[in-house]
Amino acid sequence: MENIGCRLYDSRYKILPCLFVSICCLLSSCSSGSSGGGGSSSTSGNESIITGSGSVTISGVVQYEDRTFDSTGFTGTQYRAVRFADIEIVNASNSGIIASTATDGSGNYTISLSPTSASVYVRCLTSTSVRFNNGLKGYHIEVVNGGSSVYSIVSDNFSIINPGIYSRNLNASVSGGAGGPFNILDTLIDGAEFVVAKNGGFTSNKLKAFWYDGSTDGTYFTTATNTLHFLGKSTDSDSYDDTVILHEFGHWVSNNFSKDNSPGGDHTITGHYDIRLAWSEGWATFFGSSVRSHSGYSNPHYYVDTSGGSGNGNLLFSYEIKTPSFSSFATGSDNELSVASVLWNIFDGSLSVGFSGIWDVVKNYLPSAEEVSLEDFWDGWFIKGYGSSADPTSLFLARSIEYISDSYENDNSSGQAKSVTLGTSYHHTYYPSGDEDWIKFDAANGTTYNIETFNTSNGADTHIFLYSTDGTTLITSNDDRSLTDYSSLILWTATADGTYFVKSMAYSGSGAIAKYGSYDLRVSVQ
C-alpha cells in the first residue's frame, strides 16, 4: 500500500513509524482477507479497525488539502492525513452501508468483507464515531452543515464481486469544497488529543461543529447547545483558520471541563471588558496556542484570522500572545490579550512551568468560584500550591495586573486612615480580598468636596463611604458614578469643621464580580 501520508512534513508524522503502521495495515488486510466467512466486527490493535471478514479487502489512504499559514496569512497548501475518521462502504444502488471502519493516525484504512454483486463506493466522513463507539478514542467529533448532515468524500463506484484487494485513496481538496470541513475535523482532533494527553481522558459529550459554505451565522461557541459554529461566508470563512477554530474549542473545553461565567458578546482584542469575558476569551486563545504547541506547530503563540479567500495572504489580523502585540492595550485582567499573555508566560514564557498546573487550577479550582475570572485563576494558583515555586507576580505586573497590596497598607480602619492632601490622587488596590482603604481629610464648614475614585482598572468596582469625625457615623456613600461607570463619586458640603473619614472597598453586594481591582482615590474642593 502506498502511504502518501508519509510525504507530510509535519513533525508529528515521522517516516519510520508511518512505514511501520503501513506495513501493519497491509498485513492486517491480507490476513483478514484470507480468513474468510463470518462477517463479524473485530479490532486489530489501536491503529486499525477491521469490520466484517471475507475475501474482499478494500484499503487506501485518506488525505485533505490543508492551507498552511503564518502571521502574514496563508502561505500555501499541503496534503495531510485525515485521522481517525469514519469510513463506510456504501451500496451504490440503495445507499445502504455495507461495512464501516475508520482511518488510523496516518489516514490509512483497511476493511474486509464478503464479495457482493452490488456496486459499491468508499466514503470517508467528517466524524469519529466508529473509533468512539469502539472505545479506541475517547472523543466523538462531528463536523456538520446547518442541517446537521456530516460531510464526506467518496470514491468512484466499483464492483467487488470478485475476491481480491481493492485500493481506493481519497482526497478532500480546497477547490472541491470538502477540504474546509476536513480541516475543522483535523484541528479539533488536535485539540481533543491535547485534552486527552493533559487530562488523561475526554468527556462522552459529543463535540459538534457547524460549518457550511455561505453561513453568515457567525463564529462562536454557545452553551445553549454546547456546539461550535464557524463562519462560512465569502468574506470571512473560518474553515481554515486553525487558531480561530481552537479558540472556540477552548470555550468548549471550559464549558465541559471547568466553569465559565462570561456574559458573551462581541469583543475586540484591544478592548477592556467585564473580567469574566476577558478571562473566558483570554483562556480560549491561550488554550488554542497550547494545543498548537503540543502538536508541534511553529510559532504557536500567534493567533491568525484570515478572510478565507483563495490564494496566499488574505490576512485580516494576527497577533502574538507571548510578547503581546498591541502591547499598550494588553493590560489588566479586563483585556483578553493581557489574560492570554500571562497564561502563556506561565506555560511557556518567563515562568515556563508547563500546562499541568494551569490545567489543575482550571479543572479543579475554578468550578468552585462564583464568577470565574483571572482573579480566581490567581487564587487557585496559590491555593493549589504552585505559587511557591512559580510566582507569577512579576509577569502579572508586567501587564499592569496588580494583585498586590498598595503602598498605603495598613489602612484598614479609621484608626489606620492615612491623611491626604486635597487635590492629590492616591493609587490604591483592593488586595487581598475584602481589603478596605481608609483616608482622612480636614474639611471646613460650608465647603463642598468631591470625594471620588477614578482611573479604575482590573475590574475595580469601587464603593466609597464618608464618615463623620468620629470615624463611625456614616454620612453618605456611593457605589457607582453612573449606570455604566463603576467608579464612585460623592459630592458633599461640610456642615462643621473637622477631620472626616473615607472608606473605600470593592462593591460586594448582589451582582458583584471583582473582588480585587486598582483605582485612584482623591478628595478635592469643588
Binding site: E2, I4, G60, E88, S95, I97, L125, N145, S148, S149, Y151, S152, I153, V154, S155, G164, I165, Y166, S167, R168, N169, L170, S173, G176, A178, G214, G218, T219, Y220, F221, T223, A224, S234, H247, E248, H251, S262, G264, G265, H267, T268, I269, T270, E281, T285, Y303, D305, S307, L315, L316, F317, Y319, F326, S327, H463, N478, D479, G509, S510, G511
Partner: protein, 177 residues
C-alpha cells in the same frame, strides 16, 4: 445610595418587574446561555443596501465604519464584481476617523441586469504603534424577482444522519489490483 446591581439593570421597564415571567425568562437566558464569539480587530464595519434598486439602475450602498481605537491611517475600499460600475463614491478612501464614531461611506453602483452580485467592502486600520488590522464585509444585491438559489450539495441518508458527498477519488493513486 446602595443599590442591587442586578436589580437596577433590569428595573426600567414594567416588563421586567420582580415577578414578571419575561424577567425570569431573560434572567435564565442571560445567566444560562452565552455566545462566545471570536476576537475581533478594533474596527467595526456594517454594509447596507439603502433601498432595493431598479434594474437596470443604481443601487445605493452604505458602508458604516467605526474605528474603536486611534489610528495613524485608515483605508476604506469597495470591491465590485465584474459587470458592475461605481457611479458615485470613492473606491478607495484614506484618512483618519474619529474614534468610537460611526462614519458612513455612500456608494452608488450601477446594476446592469437582473443577476445576483456580491459587493465587498474592507476597512484596514493602522494603529499608532504600527500594527495593521483589517475587516471585510460582503453584501449581495438580489434584484426584485430574482431568487437566490442555494447551492445544493449532494446529500444522502446515512446510518442515522444525512451525509453530504463530495467526489474525493484520487484517480492518480487508485487502482484495482
Amino acid at each position: 445610595m446602595i443599590m442591587d446591581k442586578t436589580r437596577y439593570k433590569t428595573q426600567n421597564s414594567g416588563l421586567f418587574h420582580e415577578n414578571s415571567p419575561m424577567r425570569l425568562l431573560i434572567l435564565v437566558f442571560v445567566f444560562l446561555i452565552s455566545l462566545s464569539s471570536k476576537p475581533l480587530p478594533p474596527v467595526d464595519i456594517i454594509m447596507e443596501l439603502e433601498r432595493q434598486p431598479e434594474v437596470p439602475g443604481l443601487a445605493i450602498i452604505n458602508v458604516k465604519v467605526t474605528p474603536l481605537i486611534e489610528q495613524s491611517d485608515l483605508n476604506v475600499q469597495i470591491e465590485l464584481p465584474e459587470g458592475l460600475k461605481l457611479f458615485r463614491g470613492v473606491e478607495r478612501w484614506n484618512g483618519i476617523l474619529e474614534v468610537n464614531k460611526m462614519h458612513t461611506f455612500q456608494y452608488q453602483v450601477y446594476i446592469p441586469d437582473k443577476k445576483i452580485y456580491e459587493i465587498k467592502a474592507s476597512v484596514t486600520l493602522r494603529l499608532l504603534t504600527g500594527e495593521t488590522v483589517k475587516r471585510e464585509e460582503g453584501l449581495e444585491i438580489i434584484p426584485e424577482g430574482v431568487k437566490r438559489e442555494l447551492k445544493k450539495l449532494p446529500e444522502k441518508k446515512g446510518k442515522d444522519r444525512g451525509v453530504i458527498e463530495f467526489k474525493g477519488g484520487d484517480e492518480r493513486k487508485t487502482n484495482k489490483k
